[in-house]
Symmetry: C2
Subunit: 254 residues, 2 copies
């Protein structure tokens, strides 16, 4: 059984793109800051949910959606989660806490779902079916103890001598990077969405990931990407002006 | 010598947040699709640059800005890069190609820059100075062959028995994840910015990262996060409706 997102979240036609006031968007990006102290104002549940839904519209690798977002509402779990975020004010004063999880092994289940969905349509191109049937397991299955990945790495080395070829993923370590990247794309969507809705956020990485995994009953292969807190910034919520080094350090025209 | 971003990219005051029309933002997120075929319309250079500058305003870990964006303009390099993206239409038909690079070792240089900057101010809190002076190297330095990371891992294990403690990074593999996450946050900013400015994008990961690193003279420790192509979508540019599995699979209220 495959369910796809409800219609209102789908683009009605691929060809029609809306006119957008870019200045409203720029305001979102520019006013997003990591907020360390929140005030008492609550976020309506429907806004949190909408922001989470917008997070799921981020770009993601092979559309395998290797992510999950745990919206921690239970008082008991929240109390523990704050401790596992080392009791930092960005967690302690937050109205909402969301644990963003990267799932390196989700490709298995979601590949099947994609295939079921594709096969239920009459007009699916052969290349797409082939991609999920053959290429996805070839790329993402690293085998028991990474043995398949090891042999792939050797095969890739020899193939690469004569032509360009994708080099990763060939290990579980690569799979972690793969899922973490996809999840981080959604995390930025989430933080921007909160800002667009009038709220603030803080991404936290200095956290006890092992305890959080246990708290949420996550599987061994699941990885904590970050914990995102949200609320409305207090007057002392932002620690100083934004600092970025000169852009020439980071934008290289070659 | 520390340079910070030019004034217009800084928030004038931490306290004032602008009113934002959230619907304009939602249009950006909803209309962003991975575009596989672009038309012939060029993107003005100033728009590309502005989008790249907005990418650099993404959240990032400890403000260590462990990223770089190579905007490939030279015809010769572009031709090669297209081959290294396996000649896929999203690269071949693109107006612009940007290689997004995660830099796990950038913490060393950027930590120094942060310290110089902080010390040049009179009002820097002791905790911030201490963070960049002591905590950052403790957290990010894994030592020669990861030896420091190994001993940290053991120390963390024993300390974790009595209290919550950050578990990562304790290896170069963890440092890759660390920098890749930060870079992916900026990548999502970049793709959304292109959309807000009326253009489209495609993130590519099925690429020959080893050849791209050589092409751009990157150091061994640098990691290719993804290549992002940009342009205006052709009428056949989006391959079908967006597919997302049911949101309950990904948003868990606990």
């Amino acid at each position: 059984m495959v369910d796809i997102f409800k219609d209102e979240l789908q683009v009605p036609s691929e060809e029609i793109v809306p006119n957008i006031d870019r200045n409203e968007f720029i305001k979102v990006i520019e006013s997003r800051r990591s907020v360390r102290v929140y005030n008492d104002q609550k976020i309506p549940e429907k806004d949190v949910l909408h922001c989470l839904e917008l997070a799921l519209l981020a770009a993601n690798s092979s559309n395998l959606q290797a992510w999950a977002f745990y919206w921690v509402k239970s008082d008991e779990k929240k109390k523990k989660l704050i401790q596992y975020c080392l009791n930092q004010p960005a967690a302690r004063t937050a109205q909402e806490l969301i644990v963003c999880v990267a799932k390196p092994m989700a490709w298995k289940e979601n590949r099947k779902k994609m295939l079921e969905l594709i096969n239920s349509k009459n007009n699916a191109p052969e290349a797409v079916i082939n991609y999920y049937k053959k290429i996805v397991p070839l790329a993402y299955d690293q085998g028991f103890l990474g043995i398949k990945g090891f042999f792939k790495k050797i095969a890739i080395f020899f193939l690469s001598l004569s032509r360009p070829i994708p080099r990763e993923p060939v290990s579980f370590s690569d799979m972690k990077v793969w899922a973490q990247k996809t999840t981080a794309l959604a995390c930025q969507n989430l933080m921007l969405s909160f800002r667009a809705f009038g709220y603030d956020s803080c991404p936290m990485e200095g956290i006890d990931s092992a305890r959080i995994k246990k708290l949420l009953n996550l599987s061994k292969s699941d990885q904590i990407c970050m914990v995102i807190s949200a609320g409305k910034r207090a007057s002392n919520g932002v620690y100083g002006k934004r600092i970025r080094f000169k852009k020439e350090n980071f934008i290289k025209k070659v």
